[in-house]
Symmetry: C2
Subunit: 160 residues, 2 copies
C-alpha cells in the first residue's frame, strides 16, 4: 500500500468513499444528507493534511491529520479515517492508522486525540483500543444517532 | 447587570479584557503573544454568538456560545468566558454563566460542553463544578503551560 497527499483531483474517488459513510449517518457527526461539496470542503480543508491510501493504483482509504488545538495545544493531532465500503475487513484502516502515527510524528506531533468517537461504533472503538488508544472521556448523549437516538461519545487518546 | 450582543464597536473594550488574560497565557490555549486582530477575530467569529456583560454602562465581562459540533452534535453548546481583571471576585463570571445557560436554552441547546478546561485553572474548575458541571474527560498533557509545562486538560459537561 502506498500513501499520498490527497488533492482536489482525487475528489470523485474520495466522494465514492465518503458518501456511503455519511449517508449511513452512524459514525460521523454530519447529517446523512450532507452534500458532496460540503463534505469534500471539510475533508480537504486547508487546515488539514489529507492523504489517500492506494493499492494497485486504486484509492481504498483516506485520512486526515490536523492540530486539535492552536498554539499551546498544537502538539496534539486530531485525525479522521475512512475506508472504501468494498475494501472493508482487509486491514486498510489498520494500515492507514499505522502510517498516520509515523506521519504525525514526522510532522512534530507528540500525541493523538479523537474528540468524537461514537460509542456505538464498536468496530472503531475496538480498533483504536488495539492500537493503544485509551478512552479518556465520555460525553453523554452528544450524538443524535439516526437509529439509537441520543448516544454517548468518547474522547480517545494515545501518545505517539 | 445587563447582557447585550457584542459587536465590532466593542472591540477596544473587549481587547482590554482579553489582552491580559492571553498575555498571562495560563487559562486559554492561545500563545501569550497573540495579536489583537487574531484574538478579536476569534472572539467575534461569525460561528459564535458573543455577548457583553455591562454594569452601569461599563463592559466588565464577555462570553460566547457556539455549537460544539455540526449537524447531529449541534444540540451541545460550547462556551468561553472572560471577566475584566479589575472586576474579579465580584460575581461577574457567575452572573454571566447563569445568563449564558438560559440564553443557550433559548437558542435550542440542551447541554453545554467545555473541551479545554486547563486543570491548573482551579478557580474555573471549581466555579464550573459549583454550577453543575462534571469532569467527563481528562486529556493528559494537552496544554503546554508557560510555567508548569505539560498540563492535563478537562472536558466538562452539564445538561441545560
Amino acid at each position: 500500500m502506498i500513501f499520498q497527499t490527497a488533492t482536489r483531483e482525487d475528489s470523485d474517488r474520495l466522494w465514492e468513499i465518503i458518501e456511503p459513510i455519511i449517508r449511513a449517518g452512524e459514525t460521523y457527526v454530519f447529517s446523512p444528507d450532507s452534500s458532496r461539496e460540503k463534505m469534500l470542503d471539510y475533508w480537504l480543508d486547508s487546515d488539514k493534511d489529507t492523504y489517500v491510501a492506494k493499492l494497485d493504483g486504486e484509492i481504498l482509504g483516506t485520512f486526515y491529520l490536523k492540530a486539535n488545538q492552536p498554539d499551546r495545544g498544537s502538539h496534539v493531532v486530531n485525525a479522521g479515517y475512512m475506508v472504501a465500503a468494498k475494501a472493508g475487513g482487509r486491514g486498510i484502516g489498520r494500515a492507514m492508522a499505522d502510517f498516520s502515527f509515523s506521519e504525525a510524528r514526522r510532522l512534530g506531533y507528540t500525541a493523538m486525540q479523537f474528540n468524537y468517537v461514537i460509542s456505538s461504533n464498536t468496530i472503531a472503538v475496538s480498533l483504536w483500543e488495539k492500537l493503544g488508544f485509551k478512552i479518556v472521556g465520555q460525553v453523554p448523549d452528544a450524538f443524535m444517532h439516526p437509529k439509537l437516538g441520543p448516544t454517548d461519545v468518547y474522547v480517545m487518546y494515545r501518545k505517539l
